[in-house]
Symmetry: C2
């Protein structure tokens, strides 16, 4: 194997090992020395491939975004093509389901420390933007009373709103919606917010 | 001072010291030995007064609930008495303002570890319930299409929704609403959700 191939192979093994450790134990216990042991390289090698451990976590999160996108899109596709409200509700409920199924991968998306927002690579921001588009498209069709800027803001608002419901529930906070009621609460919140107020 | 008075005085000093430390440095760095040093008692004394450090944090959070309730209620009172929608929007925006003003006290409310949900004292749950009532009363007036159970669920949903918006913003997450847009996003989300869908 050429040096370049070896490096690519080590990179791939590191992403795999980090995915496994995050999935099993959560982001908080991710350590470079454990990853080095997992793939059989020196700790220093990690930092010749990735700027820091956060950059490696972004790779793991990228796959989580892909899986989350696929999970949510499948739920949308199960609804009739023009049933935008049902699609948005299904999307929120699928998001809740994904968080329950993959709590550690899901929370790594929100807990990766970005020491400097400017350091977030463009491809990562682009992936986040694509996920928001899944919400924005049907929302724009329903909320013709809003201009483009407000559709963008309500898209973020609906996402953050559903995220808040899911987060308090997954973390079992005192103020949380009981787990069994989460789908109905998402239906109530999303189902109301997608209608122009009269 | 009687033993009982001394104990009450130490208790009060511990709550004060914990409030100061949580306010300044956040819950995560709260240590029993620092509190003991702050009030000039033995570490063991803390545990003759409080079951554990979490029980002490609940006392700190209780004052945060009072202040949060007062802050939100003031924003509601600034609206006309029958302007329920404006009241609910103002409430959400006041919540966001409180979190920005008191980030560490606010996050202690959500980050106190409850090793056992059954161990949460009744008075604490009662205080949380009272805060939810501030939302539920105007919401019930606006959403006469919903039965009592759904009003209760949408109350939690609106709270968690606004909480999610505020949390992602305060923690400066990639998926967050930009800080300056938070009031408008809350207005869009809450303002839409309080109308019965047509």
């Amino acid at each position: 194997m050429s040096t370049r191939d070896k490096r690519a192979a080590t990179r791939e093994k590191l992403v795999e090992a980090a995915t496994k450790r995050i999935t099993d134990d959560g982001l908080a216990s991710l350590r470079a020395r454990d990853l080095a042991a997992d793939v059989g390289c020196a700790v220093g090698s990690i930092y010749t491939i990735f700027k820091d451990l956060e950059a490696l976590v972004l790779e793991v999160n990228s796959a989580t975004f892909r899986d989350l996108g696929a999970h949510v899109t499948a739920a949308v596709k199960a609804q009739p093509a023009d049933a935008y409200e049902a699609q948005l509700v299904a999307m929120g409920q699928a998001y809740a389901g994904f968080a329950r199924l993959h709590p550690n991968r899901w929370s790594a998306v929100f807990n990766v420390e970005m020491s400097n927002a400017a350091a977030v690579p463009e491809w990562y921001n682009e992936q986040v933007k694509q996920l928001f588009m899944i919400i924005a498209v049907p929302l724009a069709a329903l909320r013709r009373d809003l201009d483009e800027a407000d559709v963008r803001l309500l898209t973020r608002g609906l996402f953050a709103g559903v995220h808040g419901i899911v987060l308090l529930s997954v973390e079992d906070r005192i103020s949380a919606v009981p787990t069994d009621d989460v789908p109905r609460v998402i239906e109530l919140l999303v189902g109301s917010a997608v209608h122009p107020p009269v």
